[in-house]
Amino acid sequence: MTVRVASVGLGRFGKRPEGLVELAAEAAGLALEGIGRKTVDHLVVGTMLGHGPHGPFALLPRLAGRLGLESATGVRVEAASATGAMAFHEAVHAVQAGEAVRALVVAAEKMTDQPTPALTRELTAALHESEIAHGATMPGLGSLVSQRYFLHHELPAEVSARVTVHDREMASRNPNAHFQTPVTAEEVGASRPVALPLRLLHCAPISDGAAAVVVEKGRGPATVLGLGQGFDALRLIDRSDLSSFVATRLAARRAYEASRLTRKDVGMIELHDAFAPLGFIHLEDLGVCGPGEGPTWYDRGWVRPDGRVPVNPGGGLLGRGHPVGVSGLAGIGEVALQLRGEAGATSVAHRPKVGLAHSMAGLGAHNFVTILGETGG
């Protein structure tokens, strides 16, 4: 059964005073505005940390009550920082299976009310226990993977500033983005070290935020063409490859096969660039460019809104912000808006026919690829 995105609701990312349920309800309200009074009979909610006065508990009935969806069914999902993508995939599966006619997917995260050490401990909990025992953190392991990438392709680490500069410029066009101002490569290089070669501006910020998408049976400019996901060993040293992500390649292959498309058909991309160098790695793992060619794509402007394949026109994780469980759904929502010609200020130069959203759990243990576009024939 063919499933399409019927509407999208993206709230503002950043430091927000609202709580988890309020953020979720705001994004859901925006998405429901787009579909009028049509029945939503299924609710999929995603949150990784689930911070709030009630934690993540009974989030479904709380939200269903707020939205007047008491007659719907619901499920909550978690896949670390790919939670939002998993929530979308689950909603699509429910409609495809005929279990639901119209499903509302909501992802929400509240992060800025936590002290940074507590937040670090929680995000680190998504790592392997032996990595935790060695005092590893996400930026620490992200730094090691980035170095393996730079060594493998004989690239200087300084090229990663290009990803931040790009994302921040894109975010400055997006009124909902966490960061509203562009930065220069010099500012990135002068920001404080986090885990060299990663500096502060190479790392996605801590953000609150929510996103919502309604999916339903039917065709349109944002039809679901292919979904894919892939696992890799949770512990990095157990992986066959330390300089890129097998889980992305697996997810991409499955999504391309399901959609009967190739990377040449993709007209725009949303990447999970929680750390700047990962922008290059993901672009290569998705097959958009060859190994080691990512920096060239950023350097020559091929990822810009008027480039060969626009990337992260909404600002990506480094610019739009990174409410962890939301980013996967926000990327899918941004792709759908671009395909539907509803992206407004973040619109790419030429409305694409096919878009791809990539999402990564933790440091690449469970990745997702979502391909949306016009249905042919």
Binding site: T116, P117, T120, R121, T124, S130, E131, I132, A133, H134, G135, A136, T137, P139, G140, L141, S143, L144, V145, Q147, R148, L151, H152, E154, R192, P193, V194, A195, L196, P197, L198, R235, L236, I237, D238, S240, D241, L242, S243, S244, R249, A252, R253, Y256, E257, T262, R263, E284, D285, G287, G290, P291
Partner: protein, 132 residues
């Protein structure tokens, strides 16, 4: 830190397919054979990548060094090296300190330090073929 601890890492060896691995318990991660034997590797390895966390988790000193090391048997380890951490390509001695692997520069790496380009180290996959 038990800096005087002898170098050496407890690993498992598959008696069927001869792969060496971590952890020492359980079947062979490659072929599933239960015919495995523990042994102690000398713990001499090459740094694949290293960094220092400026914001370490609670309980660790700042900066907190971390590194990927490939020991001579082809097994990779995440280690807490001496500070400042040895760079990619440097040879280190790894030893076990409880559940933590620690590493220090090996006497064998003295001559290699300060070289310009870090050599390509570690077993990498063949070049990626884009999905069709």
């Amino acid at each position: 830190m038990s800096a005087d601890a002898p170098a050496g890492v407890r690993l498992g060896k598959c008696m069927t397919c001869h792969v060496r691995f971590l952890p020492v318990d359980g079947p062979c991660p490659k072929c599933g054979s239960r015919s495995t034997e523990p042994y102690v590797s000398p713990g001499i390895g090459t740094v694949l990548a290293s960094t220092s966390l400026e914001v370490p988790p609670p309980g660790w000193q700042r900066p907190h060094p971390l590194a990927f090391v490939e020991v001579e048997d082809g097994v990779r380890l995440l280690v807490v090296p001496e500070a400042p951490p040895p760079g990619a390509g440097e040879v280190v001695e790894v030893w076990q300190d409880g559940e933590v692997y620690r590493a220090r520069r090996s006497a064998r790496s003295e001559g290699e330090r300060g070289e310009g380009d870090a050599p390509r180290v570690g077993s990498s996959r063949p070049p990626f073929e884009p999905p069709r």
